[in-house]
Symmetry: C2
Subunit: 389 residues, 2 copies
């Protein structure tokens, strides 16, 4: 259930001293091979952090030998000095492990606009390298947490193939606020011992991310540091069917994405907003996302109020194909809006549980899509006003 | 300072019994002429309320004799019965005043998805018609309030022209949540005693709304009921210079828009976000609005935290022309981000007052635009979770 579930990987998580709390804040994951193929997707935010600029270059040749991740500082909006610090971190990892710095990806998360304390990072890298173990996944997952309350890990193992070989896919994620599409304030590392070329990894990862992380939208805010990195060791010697591999990878991504939403800052409800019978998948996604971005709707759910008027008001701001008089809305299974008008009594809707499902039936086609989000709570406001992060 | 500042108008505000609070909830404004030209802009929300559908038809011929407004119910998502109720309300006004129902605009605001209690509306219209007076503007402004804490009114009077004639423009507004572009959960009635054809009114109103109400964005939520109605009586007999008229109208709209933001639900800071040196006015508006939509930035301001990283993270999600390494950001006059990197100390920024100015210098051109918004507070969450509205 971690980045060390797949064979061929070691990991570590240590306390470098970046966090004033004294909690672990530096993680290292290395691929011992025999293969070292990799793929990644990065934030689409145009104000991208130094480690994003660095890691994009590292991924160019589809090979990653190691990834070093720090919490306690985003290294974003830090100029040339910030980039030099990322470079120096990768060089340090490379020196210790005897690999090339251009095969070392770097990820950072934390406050934007402050330089990293390199006098803590570099000794931290040494400590992490010394602590690398084949069951170090949990320690790594803990070290990348910021305002997360629990580490997020997931894994999946294939059925044995004709040669009796099976392979695994495992991953870890962090992310709590600034959690929105085009990824999130989110670092994800996924490992597999399947034998897959970088090109195949890239295609599978883009397919999986599109319907998982990119459909988690906690607060509509897109981070400068988002990274999802997939590394393959080939240690299982299994060459997977790529449809099966993509399905397994999607399952791991979906679990991690759902875990991120479940632990989003201050949330008291996890909300799955599904738009059905849309003219296109794009329409379904746009409609679901518009509702996921409505502070009014999200505050209503916090108050256990099935305020479907706020759903319709959001749907109405989109350019999706629909006739307002043919929209149905159900909340937790109760169709409280029928044909764009008053449906069953809102008193029938029970919102006392944490899980909330909203279904918006556009009656305009056959496509559907789900966006996962949270309610807007006092605790969200508190976490994001009382502390810089 | 009201819709009865201009000559030729009478108004009233009464308690019809729509609000459980017993506060006034029905307003009537009539144009006694001699002219009865009018123009209006309505919500662009595709889920438009019954009174929007009705009033769009009324405005087709550029003539409005009266407008009736109710709080305590939006009459949105109410189907054919809702439209019949709007029609019946206009007919009632027309019958009493001896005018045509097709010259009576209707505006509603309140909870979406419930039928209006017509047994209260129709007697309310009778009471309002009986109460019409030439200084009834303040009563009308009070009757259209929902979660507003104060009525919003504004007026402007021109200098005398060559013939010694001057004219006035006065208005009222309501709006507290669901306050965003393409108008807001906002009803605005503006009157003038200038003599202007409907076409001239329309052009002036669109110019004024574009840079005032459409740049107020409290919570990113667009209402189903937004209406800005401008009525001209010609009672001053002054034929205005249209540039002067538009400037005066813009001033009235700006005052009302600023008052709406100042009284937005739960807000503790009023934030003016100005983007300067943009490649186009559209770019400047998009950038300012992206920051105004960032819950993380808005929560930070609530916590008196000049978190410029959250400003940059929002700017980075837009497609505006800029180089991330050339952006400067000042908050309350302190340039805390210079060339996309760390600038002056954030400790220098004083956010203890209610007014906050954010200036984002894109260094990409000569255009600029300001969006007015609020912080995200516990009180916003409370107001929008504890009560259906």
């Amino acid at each position: 259930m971690s980045v060390t579930t797949a064979q061929g990987f070691r990991a570590a998580g240590v306390t470098a001293g970046l966090k004033t709390s004294g909690n672990p804040d530096l993680a290292l994951v290395i691929n011992d091979g025999p293969e070292r193929t990799a793929a990644a997707v990065f934030t689409t935010n145009r104000v991208a952090a130094a480690p994003i600029h660095w890691s994009r270059q590292v991924l160019r040749d589809g090979r990653v030998d190691a990834v070093v991740l720090n919490s306690g500082g985003a290294n974003a909006c830090t100029g040339p000095e910030g980039f030099q610090n990322t470079h120096a971190t990768a060089e340090k990892v490379a020196d210790i492990l005897g690999i090339s710095a251009t095969d070392v990806a770097v990820c950072s998360t934390g406050l934007i606009g402050e330089q990293l304390p390199m006098d803590k990072i570099l000794p931290g890298v040494e400590a992490a390298a010394a602590a690398l173990v084949s069951d170090g996944g949990a320690a790594a997952a803990t070290a990348i947490m910021t305002t997360d309350t629990v580490p997020k890990q997931a894994a999946w193992t294939s059925e044995p193939n004709a040669e009796g070989l099976s392979y695994s896919i495992g991953g870890m994620a962090k992310g709590a606020g600034m959690l929105a599409p085009g990824l999130a304030t989110m670092l994800v590392v996924i490992t597999t011992d399947a034998a897959v070329e970088a090109e195949g990894l890239d295609a599978a990862l883009r397919d999986a991310v599109r319907v998982t992380f990119n459909r988690a939208d906690s607060d509509g805010c897109m981070s400068t540091n988002d990274t999802v990195l997939l590394m393959a060791s080939g240690a299982s010697t299994a060459f997977p069917d790529m449809d099966e591999f993509t399905a397994g990878l999607t399952q791991v991504c979906a679990t991690l994405a759902r875990d991120l939403i479940a632990d989003a800052e201050g949330a008291s409800h996890d909300i799955a907003i599904t738009t059905t019978n849309a003219d296109s998948e794009r329409d379904a996604e746009v409609v679901s996302r518009s509702v996921a971005r409505s502070n009014l709707f999200k505050a209503a759910i916090f108050g256990n109020d099935p305020n479907w008027g706020r759903v319709l008001a959001s749907v109405g701001t989109t350019d999706a194909v629909f006739d307002p008089d043919k929209i149905n809305v159900s909340i937790n299974g109760i169709q409280i809006c029928r044909n764009g008008c008053i449906g069953d009594s809102r008193d029938l809707v029970d919102l006392s549980g944490r899980e909330v499902t909203v279904e918006i039936d556009l009656n305009a086609g056959l496509a559907s899509a789900t966006i996962w989000t949270n309610d807007l709570t006092h605790a969200y406001v508190e976490e994001n006003s009382a502390y810089s992060s």
